[in-house]
Symmetry: C2
Subunit: 277 residues, 2 copies
Amino acid sequence: MTRQELVDQIFAKRSFLCIGLDADMKKIPQHLHAADDPIFEFNRAIIDSTASYCVAYKPNLAFYEAHGVAGWVAFERTVQYLRENYPHHFIIADAKRGDIGNTSTMYARTFFEQMDLDALTVAPYMGEDSVTPFLAYEDKWVILLALTSNRGSHDFQLIEDGNGTPLYEHVIRRSQQWGTKENLMYVVGATQGPMFEKIRAIAPEHFLLVPGVGAQGGSLEEVCRYGMTEDCGLLVNSSRAIIYADDTPQFAMIAAQRAREVQQQMAVLLDNLQKHR
Amino acid sequence: MTRQELVDQIFAKRSFLCIGLDADMKKIPQHLHAADDPIFEFNRAIIDSTASYCVAYKPNLAFYEAHGVAGWVAFERTVQYLRENYPHHFIIADAKRGDIGNTSTMYARTFFEQMDLDALTVAPYMGEDSVTPFLAYEDKWVILLALTSNRGSHDFQLIEDGNGTPLYEHVIRRSQQWGTKENLMYVVGATQGPMFEKIRAIAPEHFLLVPGVGAQGGSLEEVCRYGMTEDCGLLVNSSRAIIYADDTPQFAMIAAQRAREVQQQMAVLLDNLQKHR
């Protein structure tokens, strides 16, 4: 998917919501456990009920790999189901990969050729040749970890060099030599609040994928105040707060209500943006 | 496997060789392509022929995931085959994972509970809570990326703070608050040569997993001169130079010859070490 297509989807649906498909057997409603492929059945129900309110889905590979082969089957079926039924949704594999060049090339083939995903999250630690194999695909995206939402983000990402430039800023600056706003986004956690202003100073137009709204405590308004650009420039992810809002047979309907609530907040924020354009 | 058991294996077999099982269909001998599970058949032949010469095997997950579900089946079969037939070999999943705490917990379950691997490579970028879930398992290991063997390692790992301390050194120092030499190793590329001396100053006893000897150009002697400790403290990995040394039906025999050549170099290095103990 191109950047323009993504922006068009956001304004057409008045939503920049990404829903995290983190299928955890411990949280999936009990009545689904008897199904042949409970994770896929859960995902399908969540997707069908929430697709109108979001522009992107983000399965986190860890939750699938935790189930070994059965998990990979569920992951592939989920991606295929999305591609066939919701071709305008942006699909992100939250895999946080990153390895030496020839290995990253293998991952790129898996996710972009075999599975036709739109984007992959990548860890920057190993540098340029671990990232660029993913950037070789037209209309496919790398979403590079910059400033994450977890507590441990402070351990290394904020270490400053002799000029006071933190590591995450090095990541954002350097990587702009490898990719463009058309194929590169950054992960910036919602819990990082005012940091968004500093990030917009060095990446004024790149899309940011923002986890941490909801369960992890980040505020949607704060993220938008500092992080929104004139064509939105944000994909805000919510996983647990939507998909596990309920564990009865009505779970999909309740998830849809939650997604719609977020979408309505987003519509107001987008309307305000357009008024000021 | 405990640290002492690993050290005992190294001195008993006079080898600190780790063989990377990077099963690439483009390089696997043609006559195996007709098998039901060519990757597993290739791995089994390589393992049976080389097991006497190495103490560890390291399948790189990327090469398996590149084949989707079939790849995961081959990976699981390979690990199971090793566990059943070679219980004294140390098995490393080269996965370079690292995610927020609850996701790392999922990965830890996959690799340490379901699959009973000994160790997992982990990327440090997300900090403490992305690493510690893996350290909660007795006799299981985290192998943390510190200074990698690829060109891109220079992009971020060598960035120095105001005191001249590079990022990789922060990673090694900080992580010693999370784990010990009994459950934590570091990846240090063989291509980093004299850097081993600096690393031994801050991690005098931790095992180092060293990729990059062979295909990537690192020297075994140089690595040992600077990196070896009195109980060895090194696992040196070789993948392509051994497993793809030949692509005829004799491939396993040729791989064994290559592994034996490396083992014999290692035996000399270990003998020298013991003379000086």
